[in-house]
Each structure stands twice: as C-alpha cells, then as structure tokens.
C-alpha cells in the first residue's frame, strides 16, 4: 500500500509507517527477523510471543484525520504507542515529518514531544494534585515557559474547550467529560502539529460522547491538525474519520474512506462491522451517483454531492425524474436515480447500492 517513497502522493505525508512490528515476548527479535511480510500467528504462539502490531504500513497526510479502529486486543493502541514512541517498535520504520522516529535520540525525541506532539488518553491521565489551569499549563512549564505566560496561555485553552469558570477546580471535582476537556486542552497547549487521541471518548457516557465528538469536530475544523485517533467504536470512526484503518490481531485489514469501507469491505471481518451500519446516515450522494448523461432529462432539483443521503432522500424520492448532483461551485457533476436511493435505504446489504 505504501512502499512508494516518502514524498510521494499528492499530499505531504506527516506520519509514515513502513512495516512496523511490535512483538511482546523474549524471542521477539528473532521472530521478527525470521519473517518477511506478516508474522504467522501459529509461529508467534510457539515462540511464546504475542504480536501487538503486525507489519503495519500506511501514511497520514497533513491535516488528515486517520482513525484506527479495532476491538480490544487488536493492537490499535499499541500501534499508536509505537508512533508516539511510548513503546519502541520491534522492527520497521516510522517517519514523522520526514525524520526517522526510531533512530531519534532521547533529547531529540523530548524536543519533538514538547513542540510537535500532543496526546489525549482514554482515562485522561490528569495530574491529581494540579488544578485545571495547572494541568493545562503543565506541558508548557515542562518546556521551560514561565508561570505567568503559561497560565495565561492555559486560560485561553480552557476557554477554547469550554471550561471557563472551572480553571481552579481539581480533576476529581470535574465530570468525566470535563476531565477529558482538560486532557484535550492540555494536549493542544503546545500547539502541536500532530495530535494523538487514544480512545479519548470511550470512558464517557453516550450522550456526553456525542457532545464531545461534535466539540472535537468543531475544534478540528478550526485547527486542522494531523490526527491519529484510536477507537473501538465503529460509529465514532465513521462519524469522524477522513480515512479508517481497521485492525484485527495486529494486522490492518483495510484502510479506506468511510464510504469505501462500507461499500467495499475488503474482508469478511470488516463486512461484519459494516452490516448493521445505516448506510443512508453515512454515505454521501457522491458515493451513489451516476456520471452525467447529457441525454437524460433531469429534474429541477439540485443536491450537493457532499450531502448525507438520509437528509435529502425524501425530496429525491418525491421527484419524477433523476436529480442533478452539483459540487461546491454549483457545477453539475452527476445524476442520481431514485432507485439508487431506495437501494441504499431498503436494498440488500451485500450488494453495492449503485449502478456502476
């Protein structure tokens, strides 16, 4: 998938992984050295090893939100920890902004963390003895910024994540959602380019989770960070991701856009996830439209190619003729037959719901 060079692709790769392995156990090194490609599960077991990440290769582009999705034990968090170098990968290469992360000295790594990386943790990882403001100011102070300056910046961050008025609270005085807002503010305090989020909303109640996801999308709309987001929640992945990597037993089963994964699941495992997804709520018009056919007579209605199908389904079905699809500049880019929409809404899930 990504054995091309580092600078290839139309967008710049901020993070690039090449055949990354993480194997736990005493014989890890010899096991990895003896394999070309994927490590065989049976071989790993007989060597007394547990494979966390198995030959992962992918790129994350600038400003892209890549979600790593998998069930517990699938190696998704391990992969993230390798890329943030909280653990060292057993083998493979990881480049961050073109620099070889694994070859980096600890001093260089410290610099990188202090200036380029931010991370949010599932159970928040807040310092219990520090207030909201002090927690947010903490990474700045670690960089050597003075108290006055760091606290004033922390105040801005607290404002950004909606914690105004609670600056002097201690973590234990906050709800889970509020604590995670602190975690988010802290991870953003140093204005990192790369943002790691390890199941940030998994410990929250469903309603709060939804609220935090909205908040997260709002922030990302403003900040445009390069993001690696780990979750076990497929719906969350669909809601947030530009692209999704689905992991199983350390292997990336499929890496594609949400629509791509729903419409063309690469493996049986991925298909199981997609089966129950209400496709009309996820797919955009673009994914099911036909190319423009000049002969065809279109209705007067125009829909945006970025609309979610569910939001326009009723009006489309009320038209007698196919509907024109336009892009952001209002140029005609395709047409949509009601039959496709019906197929999305009621059709056989195993079939691709468009004519082509």
């Amino acid at each position: 998938m990504s054995s091309q060079g580092r600078t290839s692709g139309k967008e710049r790769a901020v993070i690039e992984c090449q055949s990354v392995y993480k194997v736990f156990g005493r014989n890890a090194d010899s096991l990895v050295a003896g394999t070309d490609g994927f490590i065989d599960a049976e071989a790993a077991r007989s060597a007394g090893c547990i494979v966390g990440v198995n030959n992962a290769s992918f790129e994350v582009h600038a400003g892209e939100l890549l979600v790593i999705m998998g069930l517990s034990g699938s190696g998704k968090s391990t992969l993230l920890r390798c890329i943030s170098r909280l653990t060292d990968a057993t083998a493979g290469k990881i480049f961050v902004e073109g620099q070889d992360l694994l070859a980096m000295s600890s001093k260089k790594l410290l610099q990188m963390r202090r200036s380029k990386m931010g991370m949010v943790f599932q159970s928040f990882g807040l310092l219990p003895h520090k207030t909201v403001l002090e927690n947010i100011a903490f990474p700045l102070q670690m960089k050597g910024m003075g108290t006055r300056q760091s606290v004033s910046r922390a105040r801005d961050m607290a404002e950004l994540v909606g914690l105004r008025g609670r600056e002097n609270y201690f973590p234990r005085q906050l709800s889970g959602g509020q604590q995670q807002r602190v975690g988010i503010a802290r991870s953003l305090a140093v204005e990192p380019d790369i943002w790691f989020l390890d199941e940030p909303f998994s410990a929250l109640d469903p309603l709060i989770r939804k609220e935090m996801q909205d908040e997260f999308l709002r922030l990302q709309g403003v900040l445009k960070k390069t993001i690696l987001f780990v979750t076990h929640d497929f719906d969350e992945a669909l809601r947030l991701a530009d692209r999704i990597a689905i992991m199983k037993e350390g292997i990336i089963e499929q890496l594609d856009t949400p629509a791509g994964i729903i419409l063309e699941p690469a493996t049986e495992y991925v298909r199981k996830f997609t089966e129950d997804v209400p496709r009309e709520k996820v797919l955009r018009i673009e994914s099911v439209m036909d190319p423009v056919d000049q002969e065809e007579e279109l209705s007067d209605l125009r829909v945006s190619k970025d609309s979610i199908i569910e939001t326009v389904a009723e009006t489309i079905l009320n038209q007698d003729r196919p509907v024109g699809v336009v892009d952001a500049d209002n140029a005609l880019v395709g047409s949509l037959h009601a039959s496709h929409v019906i197929n999305v809404l009621f059709g056989n899930r195993s079939q691709r719901p468009s004519g082509n």
């Binding site: 963390r113 943790f121 002097n168």
Partner: protein, 686 residues
C-alpha cells in the same frame, strides 16, 4: 477441581499430625541424638561477627588523619573515621534542635569554644518559653485540621508543662524532629531507587523484611559497637528502624501511579527528573505522606528503647521509674508519651490528607497570616517569660519553663490507686496469676520444649507445604535451620511458646470482636477508631497498666502482648468483612440466606485472605511484644538480647539472637502470606 480440594488438605493434615506425634513420642531426648536437637554448627557465628566488626573498626583500610591536638598525622581505620564523622554530625544536629527548643550553650561551643562561654556569660541560647510552643502547636493544629486538633494540641502541651515533664518531653520531641526527617529522606531515596531498578528492589526486599521483624533492640548492640553510646547512637538505631516503612510506602505509592498519568507526563515532554519530581512523587503524595506518619510514630516508639543506649528524654525517665517500681510517675510519663504520639500522629495525618487550596487573589496579609501569627506568639510568649522573671524566684519561672518535677504531680494518687488495687484484689490477682502460670503456661512451655527438633521441622515445613506450597516449605525450613544450628533453639522455643499463646488468645478475641462489630456500621467505625487510638501508643506503654496489676511477671508480659496483638486481628477482621462487595451480599440475601449463613458461607470465605493478613500482623506484633517483655523479666530470647547489650562483646550474640527472632517471624509470615495470596487468587480477588 474445587470439591476434592478441602478433603485433600484435611487428609494431608491428619497425616502430618500423626507423623508429628509419632516423632514426638519416639525420639529419644538425649543431647547426643541429633534427631532430638541439632548440633550447634553455628556456635561460632557470634564470634565471627565480632571479629569482623572489630577488624572493620580497628584495622581495615587505615588512612592518614590530621589531628590538630598533637599537630601530626595519625593513622586511623577508614571505617572508624566514617562512623565518627556520622556520629559527630548527627550529634551536632540533635544538640542544635534541642537547644533551639530548650536553650543551652553547646551549639555556640561548636562555633567557638568553652573558654568563650566562660568569659561571656551572655552567650547562652535562650529556650523557647513553653507558652510559645503551646501557641505554635495550637495554631498548627488549627491550620491543619481545625478547632478539634487545636484543642488537642493545646491540651497536650499544657498538660506536659503543668505536670513538670516539659524538659524530657521536649528532648524526646527534638529527637523525633531530627530522626524523622532523616528517615523520611533516606526512605524516599531508597524507595525511588527501588522503583527505578528491579534489581535494587529485589535486593532491598529481604533486607526490609528482616529489618522490620528484628526486635527493636537487637539493633542496639551493633550500633553501640560502631557508634558508641549517646543520643547519636540512639538516633542511628531509630533511623534504621523507622526507614523501612517509608521505603515500602514510597515504592507502593510510585507503583500505584496510573500508567496513563505517567504516559501523559512523557508525552507532555517531561525529562527524567521532571517526570519524577513533578509527576510521580506528587501523584503518589498520599502514600508518601502516610509513610511520613509511620516514620514519626516509629521514631516515637523507639524513644523508650533507645534510652537504653543513651537517648535522653521521656523514655529514659520511664525506664528509671518502672525499674524502681514508681508506677505513679511511670503513668504520668506514659501519658506524656501517648499525648505526644497522638498529637504528632493526628498532625502528620492531617498534613497527608490536606489539599492545597488555590486562591490566587488572597491579600498579602492573608497569605502570610500564619507566619505573622507565629512570630506574634513568639513575641508575646517571650514578653510573658520576661514578666515572669520578676514574679517568680530564680529557676522557677513558671511562665518560661516549668522545671522538671516541679509541676503538679499526680504520682502519689496513682501510687495509692496501685496500692489499693493490690490490697483489694491481691488474692484474686494472685490466684489468676498462679493459675495462668502453673496450669496453662508451664505445661505449654514443657510441651514445646519436649518437641524433638525433627518433629518441629516436620510440623512447620509440612504445614507450609500444605498451605503455601513446596517453595514456602523450603524457605521455612531454611529459616528454622538457622535457629536450630545456633545455640539458642531452646530459648527460641520459649519465645515461640509465649508468642503462640499470645497469638491464639489475640486471634480468638480479635476474630470474635471483629465479626461481632462488623455486623453494624456504627460499631465498626467505633472499634476502628479505638484500634487507631491504641496503635498510636508506643508498644512499651502497654506494659505500664499490667505491671500495675500483676507486677513484674510473665503474666504481665503476656497480657500486655495480647492487648497489643489483638488490635490488628480485630482491625483486619472488620475491614475484611466490611469490604465484601455489596452485590455479593445482596445476591446472597436474595438466595435466602440468614444472617448467620451469610457470615459463615459468604463473608468469611471472601474476607479470609484479608483476615489472614491481620493474623499475620498479630503474629509479628505478639512476637515483638513478647521480646520487649524481656525488659521486665522473662526468660526467652529477649532476655539474652538484653544481656548482650550490656556485654562488650555482645555484638555477635545480639545480631544472632535478633536474626533468630526475625526468622521465627519471617517463617510464619511466609506461610500465612503465601496462603492468603493463594486464596486471593483462587477467589479471583486479584
């Protein structure tokens, strides 16, 4: 696999007992028979230790030292110089602290000389008037916990002053003020080191175990040899004793820091030291500060025993009073020690639980109100003392310092109470005493002494194997082998018999009281409070009231030990029973169990591992107290250790005896702890 397990154990146990009795009855009791007693192969160990220490002190690594008195270089062994340096610096610190509180000239002497003092009568550091220290204690108490602690602190200091125990009390306090910080820093450093390196932890663990199970005063002997006699030697012995719990709690606290917090620290760009001092230690603060509390209590507990090797203060006065049977004075001093212990305990705990409050917008006065108040008290107290110097005759300025033994005394009252008790209950007490000794203790002792050594080994190792596995059996065997090869097997048996009697009685009382109280939340809280209170008493204090009733006999020791050792058994039973998850209790209730059934078939099995840990503590406490009992006359290992203290060549004997006691404790600890852990795993409790 669970149904056949219990019967299997029962069968194993019956087999073990049968084998034990066969051995016990058929082994011939002659000294030549090694089945009866092992030959004392380690007989020379004390002498080897002695020689090594002597060599270390007087011969090893001579270095050239400049001696200003004879204006020449002298050859002196390195080790001796090191111990000298340590002692003298400690001594200076102790003297300094003491003189800050009580006044004096020695600190000034350090910077000048005695001639200077003689020529300048003004060169005398003034004591802090007792009113100042009382005021400070009240303010500190209020600041830390509020009005209750303030009253307690005020009451205690006034009591100590009014009863004329000010001077020895402040000596004791200054002793604690020096030893506690040193132990805390040392414990913190070792704890961090052990946290950073697995091998250090592995090396430190057995050392800590031994240090915590060795009786207090087996340290005293080597300390005397290495450091001489005096406050500094007492301080060193105290520090050795008080540091292990600090190490333990530091390590525990650091290990309990959530992984996410550590990761967050790393990702926020912490360097090694930033991570340690700004993330790990502050997050582990609670445990670390509880360690500080433990250290303070241990230091205070040591003051009595440390008085043997020259610590001044309440401890030595108490020893003198008890030895001359001045029970009344003893009680007064005992109350002072308890008051100091309770106040220091409450203060350090309050400090541990205190959360910093952040109010950025406090005024300058508010922020510094406490220091200002303290200075005001100092000024006020000094003025009062100055006024007092006109009101009272020289040397009896009650507004400055109430002179020792010039305060109110209730000693005659207590003495009268003791006399009355003895007169009134003489026959009852005597009968009880006689009954216990002749009908219970002596037969039990003879039974223990009548065990052939192989039978003892079989019983202990067999029990260890059945309950805790093969590995534990080997470890227990190792510990016992050391004692068996030493010359002190018989003495150890006597210690063991007293300790086991104490443990059985304590465990029965503790389990009964605990299970009864656990039935009600209010009773549980109340009894836990009592336990807290009793645990703050230095162990020696327990001896005072029993001596009052039973005189200096084995009965006194045993009763004091039972009281002391019942505390952990009760506490752990309650904690264990109360912490059975509510869900399981409710599930039981819905399955229709009665209260009794619930206790027997649900709560006890689940609380069992925790209760066993309590019994384990009871064993250690009991052993400890039995040994301490030697001070008032018993015939076991403790008494020999006591003898070793007064012997110039006692080092080796003292250490060997100390190890014997420690190994008894560790052998039992090994069995019970492993057993409890196993049960815990089987129950899936972690």
């Amino acid at each position: 696999m669970s149904p056949p397990r219990i019967p299997l154990k029962a069968v194993q146990f019956s087999g073990l007992l049968v084998a034990f009795f066969v051995l016990a009855n058929f082994v011939d009791s002659s000294d030549a028979n090694w089945l009866w007693r092992f030959p004392p192969l380690l007989k020379d160990l004390p002498f080897i230790i002695n020689d090594t220490v002597q060599k270390l002190l007087f011969e090893w690594m001579p270095i050239e030292i400049y001696d200003p008195d004879i204006d020449d270089y002298e050859s002196s062994p390195l080790f001796r110089e090191v111990t000298r340096a340590v002692s003298s610096s400690l001594l200076v610190i102790i003297e300094f602290t003491r003189e800050v509180i009580l006044g004096g000239v020695k600190t000034i002497v350090v910077f000048t000389d005695w001639d200077f003092i003689n020529e300048n009568p003004w060169a005398h550091w003034p004591a802090l008037p007792w009113t100042v220290i009382t005021g400070w204690a009240i303010v500190l108490g209020y600041r830390l916990r509020g009005i209750g602690l303030a009253i307690l602190a005020g009451f205690s200091t006034v009591y100590i002053s009014v009863f004329g125990q000010w001077e020895p009390s402040m000596q004791t306090l200054s002793f604690v003020l020096v030893t506690a910080p040193v132990s805390v820093v040392l414990g913190l450093a070792l704890g961090i080191w052990a946290f950073r390196s697995k091998s250090v932890e592995a090396a430190l663990n057995p050392l800590l175990n031994v240090a915590q199970t060795m009786p207090h005063y087996s340290y005293l002997v080597p300390v005397i040899v290495l450091f001489g006699v005096g406050d500094h030697a007492a301080a060193i012995a105290t520090i050795i004793f008080a540091t292990p719990p600090m190490v333990r709690l530091t390590l525990l606290g650091l290990k309990n820091v959530p992984a996410d917090v550590v990761d967050a620290g790393v990702m926020n760009g912490c360097g090694r030291f930033q991570l340690l001092f700004r993330v790990l230690i502050p997050t582990a603060k609670r445990d670390v500060l509880i360690g500080v509390n433990q250290v303070v209590m241990q230091c205070l507990a040591m003051t009595v025993i440390a008085s043997f090797i020259g610590a001044q203060g309440l401890g030595s006065n108490l020893m003198i009073a008890l030895n001359s049977l001045k029970i009344g004075t003893g009680i007064e001093i005992g109350v002072c020690i308890v008051l100091i212990a309770v106040v220091l305990d409450k203060m350090s705990l309050a400090w541990a639980h205190k959360q910093k409050d952040y109010f950025a917008d406090r005024t300058l006065f508010q922020r510094y109100s406490i220091p200002i108040l303290l200075v005001a008290i100092l000024a006020g107290g000094s003025i009062l003392a100055w006024i007092g110097s006109f009101l009272f005759e020289e040397g009896r300025n009650y507004l400055y310092i109430v002179p020792h033994n010039k305060g109110i005394t209730t000693a005659p009252f207590w003495q009268a109470a003791v006399d009355w008790t003895w007169d009134t209950f003489f026959f009852i007490l005597k009968d009880f005493n006689e009954f216990l000794i002749t009908q219970v203790l002596f037969p039990m002792r003879d039974l223990y002494l009548g065990m052939p050594v192989v039978a003892t080994f079989l019983l202990m190792m067999g029990t260890a194997y059945i309950l805790a596995g093969f590995r534990s059996a080997l470890i227990v065997g190792g510990f016992l082998l050391f004692i068996a090869f030493s010359e002190y097997w018989d003495r150890a048996l006597i210690t063991a018999y007293m300790a086991s009697f104490v443990v059985i009685v304590s465990a029965v009382i503790g389990l009964t009281v605990g299970s009864l109280c656990a039935q009600s939340a209010v009773a549980s809280r109340a009894i836990l409070l009592v336990c807290d209170f009793l645990q703050t008493f230095p162990s020696f204090i327990y001896l005072i009231p029993v001596i009052m009733l039973f005189g200096i006999t084995d009965t006194s020791v045993i009763i004091a030990s039972v009281v002391y050792a019942t505390v952990p058994a009760t506490r752990y039973t309650i904690e264990g029973l109360r912490s059975v998850p509510v869900v399981i209790q409710e599930a039981g209730t819905m399955s229709g169990v009665s209260r009794m059934q619930r206790l027997v078939s649900i709560e006890f099995p689940l609380a069992f591992p925790h209760i066993m840990l309590g019994i384990n503590q009871t064993v250690i406490f009991g052993l400890f107290m039995v040994i301490i009992g030697a001070f008032i006359g018993t015939t076991d290992l403790g008494q020999l250790i006591l003898k070793a203290i007064s012997d110039r060549h006692g080092t080796g004997i003292g250490i060997t005896l100390g190890l014997c006691v420690a190994f008894i404790g560790l052998a039992v600890d090994q069995i019970i702890r492993t057993w409890a852990e196993r049960r815990k795993k089987e129950l899936g409790l972690g």
